[in-house]
Symmetry: C2
Subunit: 455 residues, 2 copies
Amino acid sequence: MTKIRDVSVTNVVAVAEGRRPRVVIIGGGFAGINAAKALANSAVDVTLIDRCNHHTFQPLLYQVALAVLTTSDIATPIRGVLRHARNVEILMDEVVNVDTKHRHVILGSGLEIEYDYLIVATGSTHSYFGHNDWEQHAPGLKTTDDALEIRRRVLLAFELAEREALAKGTHPELNFVVIGAGPTGVELAGAIAEISRLFLSRDFRHIDPKQARTMLIEAGPRILPAYPEDLSIKALTQLRRLGVEVLTGTQVQDIQCGFVLVNGGERINANVTLWAAGVAASPLGKMLGVETDRRGRVIVGPTLNPAGHSEIFICGDLANFVQDGGEVPGVAQPAMQMGAHAGRMILQDLRKEARTHFRYFDKGDMATIGRFSAVANIKWPFRARWGGLIAWFTWLTVHLAFIISYRNRMSVLFQWAWTYLFYLRGSRLITGNQSLKGQQKQQPTRVPLSRSVLR
Amino acid sequence: MTKIRDVSVTNVVAVAEGRRPRVVIIGGGFAGINAAKALANSAVDVTLIDRCNHHTFQPLLYQVALAVLTTSDIATPIRGVLRHARNVEILMDEVVNVDTKHRHVILGSGLEIEYDYLIVATGSTHSYFGHNDWEQHAPGLKTTDDALEIRRRVLLAFELAEREALAKGTHPELNFVVIGAGPTGVELAGAIAEISRLFLSRDFRHIDPKQARTMLIEAGPRILPAYPEDLSIKALTQLRRLGVEVLTGTQVQDIQCGFVLVNGGERINANVTLWAAGVAASPLGKMLGVETDRRGRVIVGPTLNPAGHSEIFICGDLANFVQDGGEVPGVAQPAMQMGAHAGRMILQDLRKEARTHFRYFDKGDMATIGRFSAVANIKWPFRARWGGLIAWFTWLTVHLAFIISYRNRMSVLFQWAWTYLFYLRGSRLITGNQSLKGQQKQQPTRVPLSRSVLR
């Protein structure tokens, strides 16, 4: 928050009739939680609405997907996080529309919640660029359920290969394809390569998990396009050391069950395909009836309000906020800062102070590649570009410090120690009632007594 | 294992042609895992088949259901447990039939696995005494997926009550009904009472979770019928202290969505109903074409073989084994001992030693009621009947010692300390793609600005 003042937007919402103003927050992600925290135990009533009962620490979701952490390590009940904010109520429900004229939010259950202020922080979802049928073959990673589905697919691929090798003595190549080489794609590809090389290597009798191939496909000329070029090169070197095959300049044409078509129709077989290529804003942005960009994000002014609605704040990935000529990226840090800023602006309104401009304070970015391996583009408290071990330790420290509850922090530290020091993964569970649903029925094949387990 | 020798069953399976005999184990529960461990790195090939990729520590499943522990605290990948048994292969598949004549197991994938020895340890499932339609309204607790579904229902009931209280200013009574007062029913009822009284009390703004009612329904005259009567009374006192209403001598007539009918048609409203009243043997027992009892368990002789099949061992809950005139109960201890015994018998066959009779060594039973509260009927290394704190600490120690992998033991200890000392539950997550599927659409109800969050 800078000291620049915007005199054009001042206390536009009358706090009438001596009652406490009601703030409705949609979304319990980084932005929503931080807005609620900024308003905790102040002179407003806050209703926070989310479809889930938990806040998810999204930067570590890929670790749930690849069985390092469990869901409860990175997800915290929202009620627990905001337990001490006595003026905040939490509603587990889905927002289906917003009536900005009459100022109420319409919920899936039929409830309609009136508001004086509205903070919309519903984030983003996957975008398949119009190919929505790709989703079933190439899930993305946004929620804890996504993470468990990815885990199921990856671990099941090894199980099915083992079974085929048992039946036939051989099995086709095991290929994992990750599409999109932003931080999530890089982290997923690195983690898959690591799980097959380090963690599963002693678990099977008929297949060699080390032979599994991991491919990272990127349409652009280099991986981690938002990072400085030297860090892209460092990340590429580290990924290759882990055995990931990186295919830059490769356009995906089609995704089907079992394979991906790239460039001029070249076919890449894929037991599991994961999507980390595109995000679109939550559809709620368009329901507000305000200006949005081509990705569905709401265009906001310097105080995070859409034009004509000083009672509405848009925070996090859903906001298209321009600073110094560039768009602020859709990552955790600006979301947290925006949420806190929106909360403070409401408190300033109550004190009849002018609103202040939002300014994103960028401390830098980090992406892990594997154990002891990461890249870090640090901008605060000093400037540095690191690759390798030092970047990894920085990543570890920063992420531990950020995880929202103390309890989870301890548990994560414990699991990381176990994983990275002893090569054991404790969360390697395939869950869900239809664990085996991915399997195809084979021709009856007899396994004779003469075949031995020992290799 | 006693030293009594059964000279009638001796080395009936020829180990022909100099090859390694193949042992197929069906089921990765306590019996199956212990059979595989007994056979680890011996002169046989072992194929262990399970639908899941993990072994579940069932005695603590209720703690996953009531959000004390996470799934991965009590579930361990079978491949991890048996990693060092180089002669054991694991197959994630479903057994659809067994051809005992030609000695092969038929799998859902189409594979057929030939065997020299077969160990069947597929356990038990819920029995609704012919009322299979009750299952949707009153789930039971046998698997990790069951536990997560129970957790979803219990936590969602509080969420929906909070929403209704927000909309209408009031909500109907919140009732939880547990049917069946064996150890599982007692533990579930105690844990629900505890979660509503201790752990959720500060989480809501419009409802008071302490007002929720927990009812435990038992058809028989007393709870914990398998325990000595003085311990039943102690358990009853402790349950009542937690606020559980215990209804003994109460027959369930019908279970519908939202209520249970008992005795002569008396209606008990139930937001969540849980089933802990009946178990039936896994259907695999009947597929073997051998003698079974009315609950579908296979009747086995002193060496755990069904009549006429000395190459087949039945272990755990699936076995009807009579000792000293009584049936050995379907709990963890005999399952572990039977599995280990079956493995040893195969090794004795290989050494051309006569088989020895199985004898269940009963160390006693324990059931927890809540924090610092349990009953213990100890038979080894000394005899004692305890209630209260000392029983609870004994329960804690024994269960920690038994949890199968070292890592999980540490993590469970950590979570228990957190839960029982600081009243925090970290696993209070509602998961699943359709988290809100239980909700009914309400009439549109407007929540006006005048309603305050603060009470």
